[in-house]
Subunit: 346 residues, 2 copies
């Protein structure tokens, strides 16, 4: 750590203030303020004296106080499900890049899929006066945000819509993507297809299940209750669900995994089984092409989701006041091998 | 969006203030302040009137102004290399969990390995008065931080040490881990081993290269210049480097990949070649065990790195003033197949 500064103007436990700078430079406080804010009305000599004092004291402008006076904090909040989930990484970075282009800092945190934690985090961000919010909702009731929105905090929801309020949302076509993925399996001959998804209260999990049911129905296929499992994406639960579907009285010949977390565990379980089972996963994962067989996925564009949401947010902050809109981005089926395995026959 | 509120007290473009609450409740401002801050001296009836006014107006305490008066912002900054890199995900989350346990918000951003961007981000965080900083440094000169540290912003560096200043640092044993990984290849018969790492100015890249040279020297093996390549981790550059080492006059029989980004590309290149080439990568990656062959890695514990750094930061913020220390966490070699392939003989 740097040595304790022996200069009398610099009190160890306090930052140098503009008053300290004024005293050292032998000028008035207003003069220092003009120099710091780049305002005219200061002779070059005086400006140099002030800059030297700033340099010598290590003075740094306090933007917290300054932004309070101007009304904007130049920061936005991003509430994700899980900072460690690789799916959110590109979304996080895309939002950060848009924020940076607008001179704003990004504050982010995870809700861990807990509606109470989401609310706590969102309100903490509002209490710190973020200019705008991008929220991946964990809960289904966002009326708690209405006072903030009314007070001018622009809010855009991502990945899932807001609950019980009208707000901008940017998301992927979960229903259509899942339907296409399941139809792909049906097209390769499968009749008994399992669906393993996230917690039932999560919007995307439901939409993808809806897509599964739509594809089965459109093909005139019944969907056995034993072939559908929604719940935690923890490896233990998913392993149990996949295993039950493979060993039950009506074993499946294919599995549709509802998101990247489920897919990773499903790949592991299937790799340990002798019988080949087809697999399509929602969300692409790193190295999917290097697995044997290569992984067939319904891919989202997390970068585009993040960028679209952030662009929308800054247009709102710049004054756009059109009605809240829902922007749905298409998914993309990438066939690499696992989804084209035919139904196993003994 | 919520309908414009017609209540006269709520001006659409302004937040309700404590004065608005006082007016609505018919009490003095000090009384409202006591209720908001949970201080004694307010009768239950009066408190209820104030709470009802707060509720009706949608008043929310302004923590920005409040924390300025108390001196702490209850926020810490985290500067990473890249928010989208899966390696940093667990580190990010670990820091966030420690911060949350201390009631602090986490503000993070990426330096994109650019020292200028790192400095800009760090100073922006300081200007917003974060209580502490966790920095994965991109640059090698951190004297610009001395005034901030002197003013009380606790700072802990992670993954690589600070440059030219004395500060807490938590990192993995890059040198020892790389040495162990290369020795592992030597132990399986390899004499011609390639090293592909990140940009030469990055501390971890250098430490791992040092470990490579140490292992080669300890085994009495020369290290041909053509077997060492440091530079961008972009797939194009890494592909070129790996290919050159496999097709050169002294082709390598094994490759040591300096980090997860290099490993991912190396796996791809080697998968497309006929000749089996051994591979050990620094950093574990998802699904490493499902590749064929399974990937042998020298693994770091990103979660432990993040948690250790954050714990250290909060102990500093709580007043610990022992000398800055360097905490080095051991790595762990995980043999899964790719590192045990013997040298190919035609």
């Amino acid at each position: 750590m740097a040595e304790t500064d022996s200069r009398p103007e610099l009190r160890y436990s306090n930052r140098p203030t503009m008053k300290d700078v004024a005293a050292r430079a032998g000028v008035g406080l207003k003069t220092v303020s003009r120099v710091v804010n780049g305002e005219p009305g200061v002779t070059p000599d005086t400006e140099q004296r002030v800059q030297e004092a700033i340099e010598a004291l290590g003075f740094r402008r306090n933007d917290s106080a300054r932004v309070l006076r101007k009304g904007r904090t130049a920061s936005i909040g991003l509430v994700l499900e899980d900072l460690a989930d690789p799916f959110y990484g590109p979304l996080n970075r895309a939002v950060e890049e848009v924020a940076r282009a607008h001179g704003a800092l990004l504050i982010n945190g995870s809700s861990a899929e807990d509606p109470a934690r989401e609310q706590e985090l969102v309100l903490a961000l509002c209490a710190r006066r973020v200019d705008g919010l991008i929220v991946i909702p964990a809960g289904d009731d966002h009326r708690y945000l209405e006072p903030e929105i009314a007070a001018g905090v622009a809010t855009v929801f991502v990945d899932r819509p807001a609950g019980k309020i009208d707000a901008d949302v940017v998301l992927s076509d979960s229903f259509g993507g899942a339907r296409e993925g399941v139809a792909h399996l049906i097209g390769h001959g499968h009749r008994r297809i399992g669906f393993i998804g996230d917690q039932p209260r999560i919007h995307t999990a439901n939409e993808r299940l809806r897509g599964y049911y739509a594809a089965m129905e459109e093909a005139g296929l019944p969907a056995d209750d034993a072939w559908v499992s929604l719940g935690s994406t923890a490896p233990e639960r998913v392993t149990e669900a996949v295993t039950a579907m493979l060993d039950g009285p009506e074993p499946v010949t294919a599995v549709f995994a509802g998101n990247n977390r489920v897919t990773v565990t499903a790949v592991r379980v299937l790799a340990g089984r002798e019988r080949p089972v087809a697999l399509v996963g929602f969300d692409d994962i790193e190295l999917a092409d290097l697995l044997r067989p290569g992984l067939t996925v319904v891919a989202q564009d997390a970068t585009l989701l993040g960028r679209t949401a952030a662009d929308r947010l800054f247009r709102r902050l710049d004054g756009a006041n059109d009605a809240p809109a829902r922007v749905e981005l298409p998914t993309r089926l990438i066939a690499r091998g696992s989804g084209e395995i035919p139904p196993w026959t003994p």
